[in-house]
Assembly symmetry: D2
Homo-oligomer: 351 residues x 4
Amino acid sequence: MIIVTRSGISDDQLGDLVAHIERAGLRAHVSRGEQRTIVGCIGDERAIAEAGLSALPGVERTMPVMKPYKLASREFAVSHTQIRLDDADETVIGGQEIVVIGGPCSVEGREMLHETAHAVKAAGARMLRGGAFKPRSSPYAFQGLGEPALKLLAEVRAETGLPIVTEALDPRHVEMVAQYADVLQIGARNMQNYALLSEVGRTQRPVLLKRGLSGTITELLMSAEYIMAQGNSNVILCERGIRTYETATRNTLDIAAIPVLKGETHLPVFVDPSHAGGRASLVAPLAMAAIAAGADGLIIEVHPSPANARSDGDQSLEPSAFAALMKQAALFAHAAGRTIHAGATRHTVQV
Amino acid sequence: MIIVTRSGISDDQLGDLVAHIERAGLRAHVSRGEQRTIVGCIGDERAIAEAGLSALPGVERTMPVMKPYKLASREFAVSHTQIRLDDADETVIGGQEIVVIGGPCSVEGREMLHETAHAVKAAGARMLRGGAFKPRSSPYAFQGLGEPALKLLAEVRAETGLPIVTEALDPRHVEMVAQYADVLQIGARNMQNYALLSEVGRTQRPVLLKRGLSGTITELLMSAEYIMAQGNSNVILCERGIRTYETATRNTLDIAAIPVLKGETHLPVFVDPSHAGGRASLVAPLAMAAIAAGADGLIIEVHPSPANARSDGDQSLEPSAFAALMKQAALFAHAAGRTIHAGATRHTVQV
Amino acid sequence: MIIVTRSGISDDQLGDLVAHIERAGLRAHVSRGEQRTIVGCIGDERAIAEAGLSALPGVERTMPVMKPYKLASREFAVSHTQIRLDDADETVIGGQEIVVIGGPCSVEGREMLHETAHAVKAAGARMLRGGAFKPRSSPYAFQGLGEPALKLLAEVRAETGLPIVTEALDPRHVEMVAQYADVLQIGARNMQNYALLSEVGRTQRPVLLKRGLSGTITELLMSAEYIMAQGNSNVILCERGIRTYETATRNTLDIAAIPVLKGETHLPVFVDPSHAGGRASLVAPLAMAAIAAGADGLIIEVHPSPANARSDGDQSLEPSAFAALMKQAALFAHAAGRTIHAGATRHTVQV
Amino acid sequence: MIIVTRSGISDDQLGDLVAHIERAGLRAHVSRGEQRTIVGCIGDERAIAEAGLSALPGVERTMPVMKPYKLASREFAVSHTQIRLDDADETVIGGQEIVVIGGPCSVEGREMLHETAHAVKAAGARMLRGGAFKPRSSPYAFQGLGEPALKLLAEVRAETGLPIVTEALDPRHVEMVAQYADVLQIGARNMQNYALLSEVGRTQRPVLLKRGLSGTITELLMSAEYIMAQGNSNVILCERGIRTYETATRNTLDIAAIPVLKGETHLPVFVDPSHAGGRASLVAPLAMAAIAAGADGLIIEVHPSPANARSDGDQSLEPSAFAALMKQAALFAHAAGRTIHAGATRHTVQV
């Protein structure tokens, strides 16, 4: 921690500041400049509350020197984290292959789920998404089918072999959802729901953690740290657009978050182009941009009939559009020096 | 719902759109203009998913006509909601009196709580705040003392007569927290934690609902609607600053939210100037502005020794500063045609 | 300037960093901590480009120690700046009296200007606003009447004695506008139009400088510094709402900017509640909040018939609403320990 | 224009609204629904001030039906605009080839400009950028060399054949800058400097128009419209990052703006990854993302010695890094079905 003092700090105030630092078990290093006196804290700065320092009279500003996250930090791990979802190692998250997750926003019934799952598998998706519990801003909107949806997901997994990603909303449901899901999703609204983060941290299921609507990159990593601090280090970060003043899109995809995160952490980074743009026509260009910027995977909403979807119809792709996207994605993955799974029909990369 | 179609929508596309509307049980009113064809939906527009409409080929934009909230809407209630916290009607929220809540960010121990409670009461606070469960962005930061803190709050209430406001973070704790608290606080990070909102909705305790860091005014009202839809209509809304690009303050107090909310809803509107500004020196000017803009109450952090606070030290007031704020607040409440409680020492309004 | 180096910076990299600092004529103070090595620059840090430092290999972050503004800084001036607009000292900006400016968004003709000027004067306004050159986001919208509008403003000033505030958009017009205007307004879109700032800095007319839609408080002060660096120190800062994600209001009034600016600078601080809220019904509550937060003045749009205004009709007050606002403002000014001019009809402050 | 009236609008208020619309020469279409009465304006809605309508008593909300831009609109032009910079058609903007502009932030002298120009040309850049007039937030920072820098640019163009892009800041300089420049740049801070836009609109030089820090996509197109309305339709739009709450990057690159703009307008769309990220390490990933999202070109800052640059050193690439970026860009351009110029050394696309 570095402390910039106010011009004209008195000797008494400076003495109090040094004493305050020393009471916390740190050493203080005072450096008198021409303009300002600067005080550095030597030792583990987490022992001292930054907010308390700012409350001292002679203090103008403080700047932490250390990152607030440890387990999620790139310095902590020797190599990038890879997450394996099956014994056959077909689906490895964070490896050379860019992993694509496809499926409906909500599980609305057996038939639509079945149809979507087979379609996304044929197109090359490695995993199936589908919401059983839906966080909706209106209490009157469709809230998901609940556990019956989880059973349908499990049925379709049995049929297709696709691992399942589904959201947990409530700490009381985590154990139950974890019985069905291969990956637990934490939605954007719950990025700082610490009770929920701790609960998924106590399972051993991989967690897909979405960035909050106004979450900073640092806060996203701190939320990953919450999960990891409970012993579950299988965290996949997911950029899905942030809230800005621009209303032309549902959210603003923070594409730079991908390389920034790759520099800061060893965890895999996914992108959700469906929620970012909020319109079907934007999903493919945003997905390609994500691959080009270094994303390790994508999560994309697919629905057999978007106009009749009970949620997120405007941003859902029809299966044929998803298949076209996968073909295009193969070209960009190749340019990025990576691979993408080709599905039932081999994608021919013509160069 | 009004639907603006694309220029050049085909007759078939228009027919599909009308059929889609009619399948939802609404009637469609087609109006052909020179530039665009507009379609209005007649009937309860909540029957139709706006997102689904946008997925239809000829649709350019949709605009809802009705507000998405009902119970929270000003049209729903004849008069402004008043919330009574005690049989003696000493503390009435949403009435003529501006109600001030004071107390520490976290309950750190008996002595500091005792000292703070007596000080804020003497200065005129009508209620005591104090966190037992703290949502912290770092898993390594102080998370609150938990239930022992609730017991301390109850002890101090018994001594001072001050009703207690404290935060619930986890749906599994709501029942327990409600046994101690007079008002349940939902923090900014949990504004869209629907499991928690539903749970506090099932108690009969008044709820102080804070606006999320990037919550819109409409979303805040929708979150109130979640609580009210469960049968608990005692909701107090609280503006506490939103996240913007400006870094000179912790958050940006959206002062206009007060008159906007007073126009949209019958619920009382509070302001938290401590979190909004994030610095002790800004608390008083923001509190005065809130009163001038029509707030029904304030919630303010007070700590006997801010530099040693375990959380939010930079924005906590010392008891003497809080007492001075209360004196100034009395002058502004008077200018606003309202009253404020004077505490042990009568505030003399000199005019 | 304080420089936090990367963990693992090599001795060579550190040597290069020190050499780089010394080449700029500063001394480097190296402080090796347990976690990081910190380097402080001793001397006038403006001699060194912060951006250049960040480009050096071993540098992680830099933090300036000095404020980037000098003339605008509170440390620079002994007392708060007061600006006198007439020999009789009737209108003093930055003094005890809160100065209110009223008038139409645009000067649309003689009659409406005449009517508005007399009405705002009767209600207590000290100055008249009115646009001759209007920055409009559409090239097809009304752009103002130009110089004829300036002549009308001068005529009405002769009649009413009210000093005139009007906007300059183009550096080529500044001299001409300054012949008519008592105060030159720089609009929000031009806060960083440096050619224009320099030009108004070369006149001796006071300048009302509006904060840009996404201007930070620091940038606003730097723009004031541009004007002052040319020799014109009569700058009035004006908060008028910033752009955020919230769409319920036209902009988000950053009410905290008032006390923050009062702490940072000796310049007077005004507020424009009309543009901030964007709706007539919000003007009065935002104006009262501004007074309560410490504003030195207000600038308010008034139009005899808002529905027929050629610009900003939705946020313009009718003269009667402006008169009511002034009465209410007198009460809040009193609570703030300040005065407000009562106009033709004395405001009776009943307490 | 569609007008949603308040519930409980009186017949008189509705009559006034209809009369107001008819006075503007439009017809009103009144549609009484169960919840609200809706009024549509039939005719050219630009004849009616939206702000004036909102000022009428019974009006709740208004929604324009038409886009506010005409010349810039995709509907206006049959095909995408292509801009030719030389008779040999070597550099065509908006065509199949992705055009890359490279060069220093500021022209600091002959030698550095010469060195950079040759390096970027060798790597495949089609144009040279370099600032002669620099908009700096501090009046004390380096403001550019002015006309001597323009002469140096012209010299280097003569040597290398690279067309020149340089910024005009002041309407009084436009004519002079246009004598040297092949493309006039309008910087982000001047996106709504209408005097400047009109002035460059009166030249026949192509204009590279950067999006403002908080400019919406619609406002960017309206600013293009200002230029085009003066007769200059050679406008290149440039996304360069917007201001958001995230501080990990200098700005937030709005990658979705590319496909949104490609849908809305026929004008070419460029991206400036240097200003968007603000750090050299982010330039390449953002550039690749821009290509993948459909950008027609890139503008990138290159400096022979970033640590010694007089501006923007932190985000400038060294020539070798720029050459590496160009090689990678060729792979992504290929994936996007486009080409990129290979420079002196042919980029070998290995597939």
